[in-house]
């Protein structure tokens, strides 16, 4: 209850910032000298096609433009980012953590352990995380998905030897859903709140952070006794997962001109799609 007015305050500050930003823009919006080099590096295919293609379409396709604009107006998702200075800092911390620590480690790990072992480990973790997916499928009223989770857990834990194999998916074609508390809250109509970047964990929102706490209770790793061991196991899962995903973060960053915004808005869109699933 204490948090709510605070959020409202942050949001109103954000709105004010937004409008003052707009005001600045009109002042700054004079066309100064452009320092651009010749675009000689443009590929030949594009060069030949753009003059006849780009220019005529610019003028006449305005009704088409309107129609598409409609589609994107409703879709452009804005998330409140009152913690932007902290978030940006954490974004950089995580970025360095990835490039200096996690990525080299994952590379070494990939080099030592063949894909079969890493896939087995991945399956093992996915299997022990069943309670999270099972409970949240139930909470969202998806009994079929919950049934799939349950059946899959039984098969993979036995036939799949403690979950290292996944015969339930490979042989029986039982689909697994990827549900968590954040999505359950989303399905109940609870909004994102605001964006927050956690160190090590990465992008999240207020809603999803609360969700993560809920997920922790259903995560068997949380009940491992010395907490240092639990953290170790959690980290190992992270490392193993990263070994399959080297290059993904780099790709997102590379394609972005504003990486912080790209990842923030990407995360919000990604979660929105997950909730809608």
């Amino acid at each position: 209850m204490i948090g709510r007015p605070l959020i409202l305050f942050y949001v109103s500050v954000l709105v004010m910032l937004f409008f003052s930003g707009c005001a600045h823009r009109t002042v700054k919006d004079q066309t100064g000298p452009v320092e651009l080099k010749n675009v000689s590096s443009v590929s030949p295919i594009q060069k030949s096609s753009s003059p006849e293609k780009v220019s005529p379409e610019l003028g006449e396709k305005d009704d088409v433009f309107d129609e598409f604009e409609e589609e994107y107006k409703g879709k452009s998702i804005q998330v409140a980012d009152p913690l932007a200075p902290w978030n940006r800092l954490m974004f950089h911390v995580n970025d360095k953590l990835y490039f200096w620590f996690l990525k080299p480690l994952a590379r070494g790990y990939t080099f030592i352990f063949p894909g079969v072992i890493r896939t087995g480990v991945k399956n093992f973790f996915r299997n022990i995380f069943t309670p999270i997916r099972f409970t949240n499928s139930l909470l969202q009223g998806r009994s079929t998905a919950a049934g799939h989770e349950f059946a899959s857990f039984i098969f993979n834990s036995t036939w799949g030897v403690l979950g290292f194999g996944e015969p339930a998916q490979k042989k029986l074609k039982i689909p697994l859903s990827d549900e968590d508390f954040g999505q359950t809250f989303g399905a109940y109509g609870i909004g994102n709140g605001f964006y927050i970047v956690w160190p090590v964990i990465g992008p999240s929102t207020l809603r999803d952070s609360v969700g993560l706490v809920g997920d922790r209770f259903l995560n068997p790793i949380s009940y491992v006794d010395p907490i240092s061991l639990a953290v170790g196991i959690w980290f190992y899962d992270r490392l193993n997962e990263t070994s399959f995903r080297i290059g993904e973060y780099e790709a997102i960053k590379e394609a972005a001109i504003e990486p912080y915004e790209a990842i923030r808005d990407g995360y919000i869109q990604f979660r929105k799609a997950k909730v809608a699933e």
Binding site: R25, D29, E35, V54, L58
Partner: protein, 205 residues
């Protein structure tokens, strides 16, 4: 007279099939393009650079790049931009898409693509697909619309993340604080960092 009759009949049949098969055509188009791309990528005799060029030639005709460029700026910014800068922006944006996505495409060799049933809204067709490889699985949605020159892609969503929406908010962020020139400079500078990355041998692992 007879030939005229044939002509009429032919026109009639072709219009009917066009009307009936709108959705089908977009799907078939996408399928044939993806197949063509896959066979180029699977070709072991081709150099990386040659592959990129061929893939670009296959894929370029089905994208409406100029519309995509407009959409990333939106009604909010596009009309305020001087004509010659619109052109420059479009060229740089297309280059960004090509540089980046063609580079990434080379990594996809053993993937299987599953087509799901498409959704038709007015003159748009959204075709959901699933890309399945050994270890990962992700959804990819191709958004087509019917232009004068046939079906064209105007957006792609990967795991629900739209290319247009993502660039739109980034460009908006730049334009809110600065001018179109700042954005053009940012787009140009990106190329420089990109080429240094491309020559980095570690990148190929």
């Amino acid at each position: 007279m007879k030939s005229f009759g044939y002509l009429m009949l032919f026109t009639l049949i072709s219009t009917v099939s066009v009307l009936a098969d709108d959705q089908y055509t977009a799907e078939e188009l996408l399928k044939s393009k993806i197949e063509a791309v896959m066979s180029v990528l699977a070709n072991k005799d081709l150099e990386q650079q040659a592959k990129k060029k061929e893939v670009s030639e296959i894929v370029t005709p089905i994208f409406d790049f100029s519309l995509m460029a407009k959409l990333t700026l939106g009604k909010k910014h596009w009309p305020d931009i001087p004509e010659e800068k619109k052109k420059k922006f479009t060229d740089l944006f297309v280059k960004l898409l090509k540089d980046f996505y063609l580079d990434k495409m080379n990594q996809y060799t053993d993937e299987k693509i599953i087509f799901k049933s498409s959704v038709k809204v007015n003159n748009k067709v959204h075709i959901p697909t699933e890309v399945i490889s050994k270890d990962t699985k992700f959804s990819m949605l191709y958004k087509f619309y019917k232009s004068k020159n046939g079906w064209k892609i105007y957006d792609i969503e990967v795991e629900g993340v739209s290319l247009i929406v993502t660039y739109r908010s980034q460009f908006d962020h730049v334009l809110r604080k600065g001018t179109i020139d700042d954005l053009l400079i940012k787009l140009e500078n990106r190329e420089i960092t990109d080429s240094t990355l491309a020559t980095d041998p570690k990148q190929s692992i």
